[in-house]
Point group: C2
Chain length 244, copies 2
Amino acid sequence: MTDAAFDTPGPDHEDAPRGATRSLTVTERIRTAILAGDFEAGARLHEVRLSERLGVSRTPVRSALQSLASEGLLEYAPNRGYAVRRFSTAEIVDAYEIRAVMEALAARFAAERGLPDQEREAIERVLADGDDLLARTELGEEERIVYSAINGTFHEAIHSAARCRMLTDMVRLCHSVPHSSHRNVISFEHMDVRRRHDDHHRIYDAILACDAYRAEMLMREHVASVKTSLVRALSGRPLPRRGR
Amino acid sequence: MTDAAFDTPGPDHEDAPRGATRSLTVTERIRTAILAGDFEAGARLHEVRLSERLGVSRTPVRSALQSLASEGLLEYAPNRGYAVRRFSTAEIVDAYEIRAVMEALAARFAAERGLPDQEREAIERVLADGDDLLARTELGEEERIVYSAINGTFHEAIHSAARCRMLTDMVRLCHSVPHSSHRNVISFEHMDVRRRHDDHHRIYDAILACDAYRAEMLMREHVASVKTSLVRALSGRPLPRRGR
DNA sequence: GAGGCGCAATTTGTATACATTATGACTTGA
DNA sequence: TCAAGTCATAATGTATACAAATTGCGCCTC
């Protein structure tokens, strides 16, 4: 709650990036705090308290709260303000299902429209990085964190290749649901990073081959499969050991 | 531009619905104006002019513009304000593809989770209404408008049955794209209302039978098929008026 | 003691004044 | 003539004062 990184760095700090208004800065800081869990679910966010802690007036704070509410991170009720949104387990799982469908469509678009050079290079680089990383026999915590970044870059390159803004926006919406970001998958994808990396290769092959149907199906299963691990993790049951 | 319905009805009009702030009222009025095509695409919306025309201060206007931008109706650039978003033909078509995938997922959820009584009754009623309407041999303009409402109710009942807020939100986002609302299909679905109504029956049957796969596939094809008609209409002649 | 009424304190909503940034026209120099 | 710089203008961004709504507490009544 009293996170030092959150409180005001002073009005003369002035590292203002060009083109950034206070509203945008404040939005980003509050968003980060929420995603970091600095506020508990359901907690109300009082405009005055926030503005005092952040060292700005209520105006940019109100603007930020409105933004975050439309992102789905906050609940709003007229004359009653904003509160941190609660996500039920069902909502978190559903978000995965939705993300699976959206990313699958992105993969289809990429296959239909062809990979721009930039995205093709990014994907090939990241696939090679993954190959190198997974060549090691042992995968420790550190390797999984690195792989998480690789995973994120892969998926972002696909979205970018889809060249569809609405799709990008919607996937971003999915990422505002806790546990639903591909940056967070490390927490429950421990078991088979290798299988997931192989999925990436196949998806890339399908896109290169302009096989839209296969790209879509593979991506859908790829994302949806995490849902199973997630459900297991959320219900607190241990991961089953399999052969292979 | 100078739409009488848009300009201020006077500050003493006071038909304020309970729980509605000025920000919300203004948001609704500007949204309606945009969807009705009162502003041309790319036009900038000046805060002062809007606030004068609407008889309120800049504060609720700014709030409204921010809302509409996050709905995707406006573009925002820091220090440069808001402008009516331009939608390319590609974006409009893509929105249909996205809507197809989302509504298909909604149909799947409905099949998996079962239809609540309220939605089941709504769908059965609307299917029967459609049967009656289509029993006539001739379908004029008026019948198609009536069927458009029937179509909308059917699709909304499915969303509602999916019981997934994020899905509902995203479908709503799709509807903010011109020509992409199921309330608008009359303009290019002239050709086979009967086929589309038959789709509705099959989708309902699949949901009743808890056949999630079939419900999803049918709904996806049902929505995506309109895309074909849309592409034909858009390429055939210039864009008809936005909205409605 | 339970329930309802009303006031006061707190919080959000709105208006407005001021600060800051973009924009375009004008000037000035090469 | 053109380019670059400057300054005026007009727009957006922010702060703050005030209005309206909600909420909780205390009191009164039954």
